[in-house]
């Protein structure tokens, strides 16, 4: 988060300087006015959004999602894991280690990919932010259009890489893993 903060403020500072050089203080003030107005108008929406995010975090724990993933196989598993990916709370420090643990849980590769793409595309905890900071209509259309992506990716992997267990991508050529029978 510290890194993102530095990048954003650095980029803002550079653009403010460029803005000043192009349009003088008038342009900078106009830009800052827009920022202040947006911040003022968005405050309550953001507050509500973060309360939703907090509630989702305590409602959908990693244990709950893990249970769902181990119940299904085939196409059902793809749909469930894509949705579970979307519902899985937390940032990359939380979900990457969770997905990497699929190896120990002996979950197949297509579940891993649909879960990961579900997280990337759906990430339901992002809806409040997308709706409040961009527009509810754009968020709705975007979800509608991209909804099939994690399922399509899961189906492609199921069709063409069916026998690839979740650990395979991490092995180097010639390296062998002791485990087998990874189909759920």
């Amino acid at each position: 988060m510290k890194q993102s903060l530095i990048i954003i403020y650095l980029a803002a500072a550079i653009l403010l300087i460029i803005g000043f050089l192009i349009g003088g203080s008038q342009m900078v003030v106009a830009g800052l006015n827009i920022s202040i107005n947006t911040a003022y108008r968005s405050f309550l929406m953001l507050l509500a959004s973060f309360i939703i995010i907090g509630q989702l975090n305590v409602l959908l724990t990693a244990e709950v999602i893990e249970k769902w993933l181990q119940k299904f196989s085939g196409i059902k598993a793809i749909v469930v894991s894509a949705l579970a990916g979307g519902l899985f709370p937390g940032g990359p420090y939380i979900y990457y280690p969770f997905v990497a643990s699929f190896k120990e849980k002996k979950l197949p590769f297509y579940i891993l990919t649909s879960f990961l793409f579900g997280k990337y595309i759906y990430d339901f905890s992002r809806i409040p932010l997308e709706a409040s900071l961009v527009s509810p209509n754009i968020a709705f259309i975007r979800y509608l259009i991209t909804f099939p992506i994690p399922i399509i990716v899961g189906l492609i992997v199921l069709r063409f890489f069916k026998d690839t267990p979740s650990y395979d991508y991490n092995l180097k050529a010639g390296e062998k893993d002791g485990s087998n029978n990874y189909n759920s």
Binding site: S4, L5, L15, G31, M45, L56, V58, I145, Y169
Partner: protein, 164 residues
């Protein structure tokens, strides 16, 4: 905007009630959300400053020629790769998308930029390489590019058919 705030507040209240009934952890959820909000405020404010200055600086001709509905496929391609390069979190990313929308970017461009960022953002690469290896990351990126372009193209068609 007031409508969105009301809807989000209703959803928040519903989730608080559900958590209260199911696990009694509703206060923990509120505390968690508020803590995250407070920690994120500096990033959000930085993003608002960035978005504000982009909005006044971005040349109308550039939006018209490269990002608007009239830009067609150019906007979709630029959106997908632009989303890939915007290696930042949602709090910083969405205000920038909002700025592009206000400036006149087309639906195809907006959807491809959000999809490109969701699937391809370079900020994910260090984690993917670390956990799944270089090969997985490269393959995922290559396979994801057409998905982002297709999403943008579908949005472009919807804009032509429905919003014109």
């Amino acid at each position: 905007m007031a409508q969105t705030t009301i809807i989000l507040s209703i959803v928040a209240v519903i989730l608080i009630v559900i958590n209260g009934k199911l696990n009694g952890r509703q206060y923990e959820g509120i505390k968690l959300g508020l803590n995250q909000f407070i920690r994120t405020i500096p990033i959000i404010l930085g993003a608002f400053i960035l978005a504000g200055i982009i909005e006044v600086m971005i040349p109308r001709d550039f939006v018209q020629n490269w990002l608007s509905k009239e830009a067609g496929l150019k906007g979709i391609v630029l959106g997908s790769f632009g989303g890939m390069l915007l290696a930042m979190g949602p709090y910083a990313f969405f205000p920038i998308v909002s700025t592009l929308m206000v400036s006149g970017a087309g639906l195809g461009t907006l959807i491809s930029i959000i999809t490109g960022w969701s699937l391809l953002s370079l900020s994910k690469a260090p984690f993917e390489i670390g956990f799944f290896g270089v090969e997985f990351t490269i393959k995922k990126t290559i396979y994801s590019i057409p998905l982002s372009l297709i999403a943008g193209f579908i949005a472009y068609i919807i804009e032509l058919l429905v919003f014109t």
